[in-house]
């Protein structure tokens, strides 16, 4: 769905996200010497951010593509996503994951 935000607002988002992302990346590279290590509690928490965040970006579009829970073999995105997950697991490659997932979606949509 096209965004309702105007171009200037999108640029504001880009600029803000750019500055904050740069600050996160630069945090310890700049502070090293003053803070040599991440506090252990923070380090443990940060360790789990990728799994939680990436899962939050993967599960909803597969389990509820239209906003309602759709756990069935009739949900083409769930089936294609499950096959893509196998490809991701065995190849650990982005390209293979996309090819298997999109290929499965097209087979389910146009062939089956």
């Amino acid at each position: 769905m096209p965004t309702g935000y105007d171009s200037a607002t999108v640029w504001l988002v880009i600029a803000l996200a750019g500055v904050l992302t740069f600050a996160i990346r630069g945090s310890f590279i700049y502070l090293f010497g003053r803070i040599d290590d991440v506090p252990p509690a923070v380090e443990s928490a940060l360790e789990y951010v990728p799994a939680a965040v990436f899962a939050a970006l993967v599960f909803p579009p597969l389990l509820a593509p239209a906003g309602d829970l759709a756990v069935s073999v009739g949900n083409e995105k769930l089936v294609a996503g499950a096959l893509a997950a196998l490809a991701a697991w065995y190849t650990e490659r982005v390209l293979a994951t996309i090819l298997v997932g999109m290929g499965a979606l097209w087979v389910l949509r146009f062939v089956v």
Partner: protein, 231 residues
Amino acid sequence: MPTVSSDLLDGVRAAGPLQLGIAPFGLVAGVAAVEQGLSVAHALGFSSLVFAGASQLAMIELLGADAPLAIVVGTAVVINLRTMMYSASIAPYFRDLTARSKALASYLLTDQAYAVSIARYGRDGETDRFAYYFGAGASLWLVWQVTTVAGALLGSGLPPELGFDFAAPLVFLALLVPTLKDRASGASCLVGGLVATGVVVAGVPFHLDIIVAAVVGVLAGLAVESLGGDA
């Protein structure tokens, strides 16, 4: 003594195989931008000013859903928090750099540039660290810029029935799987994913799903870790 340029080229070479993952990811990010009504310039703006693929893709989708701006930016921050770990881990190797080089190194700090550089530093203490890192980081940067623009130029011509919007979750899936290293990260994944789905299905306003799922998912990982399930 290794020369500066040979270490730089080694960095470019080490990043080579990873470009196979970056290129389709960049195309997807470019296509997604125009599909959500953004311009080619916006797509390039995201890639050059933010230069963090997963957060770019998530922000583009949230903008397309007209989520509140604080949620759009806050979600990007949550997604990019993991680079703070990389920053801490690589900082000792960059301590003698000039302020300008540190700024450039920070700007180029991606999952991929971090991974190849930290592996090399562990193997070879003679490496010109910044040259190697810059070779990897800048070549990844270049491929990312080119492929997002290519995707944005291509994007408006793609027939919607082919469902290219599905490529975004597939990219996230490819990023998710390698993070599942033990029971605790598995718990973070499962709980984070299910909480996000629950938030979406329940129709909670403001697109809080990723932020809420990140907090609950991280807590689940910490809980499993403290129970000794870290096997």
